[in-house]
């Protein structure tokens, strides 16, 4: 029904919107096209079978996915807190949550070192009491990616929560549902599209993460060298290889996102 209505508004598309839209599209796609045009496609299969590439790609996918899981577990409740509680200073909190968005990732990595590094505020106790040292480990990569990617999830889930009609939650309450049950059975299904969108953004951001990762987790093949790090280092000596690696990362991420979209969103608009 909605679709019919939307189409009915149609008529001629206004030039004021279409022109900038096309410019925007070109702005996003032309560099991509440049990358694809300059890709030495003959070298792609060779790069794909290289052990280091496979290793970096696998590590990237695993770390980005783990980081996304962490973001979901912590970010959805955080978004709920920001959208639904009457916490004092909520506006300030909301602004602070988005700090990793504006912070240069390298600085984010340094900040993580200050806190979780071997001599960091928290890290020194982790090291002394439990013998846990996060820098230069795969866990460090996951943390760095989660730090940078979480705001994307929080912002989009919070937006969905604020747009959702709270009266449905009230209706559930009058039916005897506890707040946790309401969250699980009413709120979460209602904001599912926002959560999926946030998850996709979050995963994509984590997959492409470079600065915070290399600063906090360092770079060691098989342990912390993700694709973006491999791309950056390849750029130093072999720009062609860097292009090929980027294209591989690009293709894999597009394939994953398209696959998820079909399975989770079921082709919904």
């Amino acid at each position: 029904m909605n679709r019919v209505r939307r189409r009915a508004v149609g008529g001629r598309l206004p030039v004021v919107l279409v022109l900038p839209a096309l410019v925007g599209l070109a702005f996003l796609l032309v560099p991509l096209a440049g990358l694809l045009v300059r890709t030495p496609w003959g070298a792609v299969p060779g790069q794909l079978v290289r052990a280091e590439v496979g290793q970096a790609l696998r590590l990237s996918l695993v770390c980005a996915s783990l980081a996304t899981v962490i973001c979901l577990l912590l970010g959805v409740p955080l978004a709920w807190l920001l959208a639904r509680s009457d916490l004092p200073g909520r506006g300030v909190l909301r602004a602070l949550v988005t700090v990793p968005l504006v912070l240069p990732p390298v600085v984010g990595g340094v900040a993580l070192l200050f806190v979780l590094g071997r001599r960091g505020l928290v890290g020194q106790y982790l090291d002394a009491w439990f013998g846990i040292s996060l820098p230069f480990t795969t866990a460090g990569v996951v943390l760095a990616e989660a730090f940078v990617a979480m705001p994307f999830l929080v912002v989009s889930v919070e937006g969905a929560l604020r747009a959702a009609d709270p009266r449905y939650e009230e209706a559930a309450a009058t039916l005897g549902a506890s707040r946790w049950l309401i969250f699980r059975r009413v709120t979460l299904p209602t904001i599912a599209p926002g959560v999926v969108a946030g998850t996709v953004l979050c995963w994509a951001r984590a997959l492409g993460e470079f600065g915070a990762t290399i600063t906090f987790a360092g770079n060691f093949p098989g342990r912390t060298t993700t694709m973006p790090l491999a791309v950056y280092l390849a750029l130093e000596t072999d720009p062609d290889a860097a292009v090929v690696l980027s294209v591989v990362l690009l293709l894999v991420s597009v394939a994953v996102l398209v696959g998820l979209r079909d399975r989770w969103i079921g082709g919904a608009p």
Partner: protein
């Protein structure tokens, strides 16, 4: 200007920034644009100020970055007068690319040094400690010049390093040492000299195996060739050498 033409202009500007750079913001004749390796940041800033003081009306525009990235930018038409690289291989890229006016001159040398956090908590005394699994070690990745140099000295010492991280550049190694995240890193003498409040240097004999030459050249199509020549002379002067020596460089 019509709306379409504004949009077209924006499109051109966003898609072809290099074109705009060379056309719109080319430095005035009184400016000397110097592309220099990141490890020269301190010294060249000082030399630039000297040069401006000695040549009133002349401005030195400094662009620091990784030598290979700078070489690529120059070869793709970045409007530079002088290129000072951290390795001859990067200079060769430019010689083979847009070309230089005359042969590049080596103006300084740098060598590796072990950097340890102040107080040397890991008790690092030489390259042999880099093979110890208990020590946390940061090195440069083999793809970047300091990593290649490190490979040479380890080979000479007969040590297989057990690094925990292979950083993207020497500054990143230094940061890890500064923060105490690693027990030791292999960096340049100049890096230790610049961070001597938080970092201690440990000399080792094999450093002679990987001395790094810094070449400088005036570019073939320098917009301000005369200014460029004068700046290079300033770097090669006694004053230039003194500044470089203070920063930990050795004379060629």
């Amino acid at each position: 200007m019509s709306r379409t033409r504004v949009l077209a202009a924006v499109l051109v500007a966003t898609l072809f920034p290099a074109a705009c750079g060379s056309a719109g913001t080319a430095p005035a004749a009184s400016a000397v644009t110097v592309f220099a390796a990141a490890s020269l940041t301190g010294t060249f800033t000082e030399l630039g100020e000297d040069f401006e003081a000695a040549n009133p009306g002349t401005r030195v525009v400094l662009n620091f970055g990784g030598s290979s990235a700078l070489a690529q930018q120059i070869d793709r038409g970045a409007p530079a007068d002088v290129f000072a690289a951290a390795a001859p291989v990067n200079m060769q890229q430019v010689v083979d690319g847009v070309g230089t006016a005359g042969t590049p001159t080596t103006f300084a040398r740098n060598r590796l040094q072990i950097a340890v956090p102040r107080g040397n908590p890991g008790g690092i005394t030489g390259l042999a400690d880099f093979g110890n699994a208990d020590a946390t070690i940061a090195l440069c990745a083999e793809q970047v010049p300091c990593g290649a140099a490190a490979e040479k000295v380890f080979e000479a010492a007969g040590v297989t390093p057990r690094a925990d991280t292979l950083e993207q550049d020497v500054k990143a190694v230094l940061t890890k040492v500064r923060l105490g995240e690693v027990d030791a890193g292999l960096v340049y003498r100049t890096d230790v000299a610049a961070a001597d409040a938080e970092v201690e240097g440990v000399e080792f004999p094999q450093a002679d195996q990987a001395v790094n030459d810094y070449p400088v050249a005036v570019l073939a199509d320098a917009p301000n060739a005369a200014g460029a020549r004068a700046f290079v002379d300033h770097v090669l002067s006694g004053r230039g050498r003194a500044v470089l020596a203070d920063a930990g460089f050795t004379a060629p």
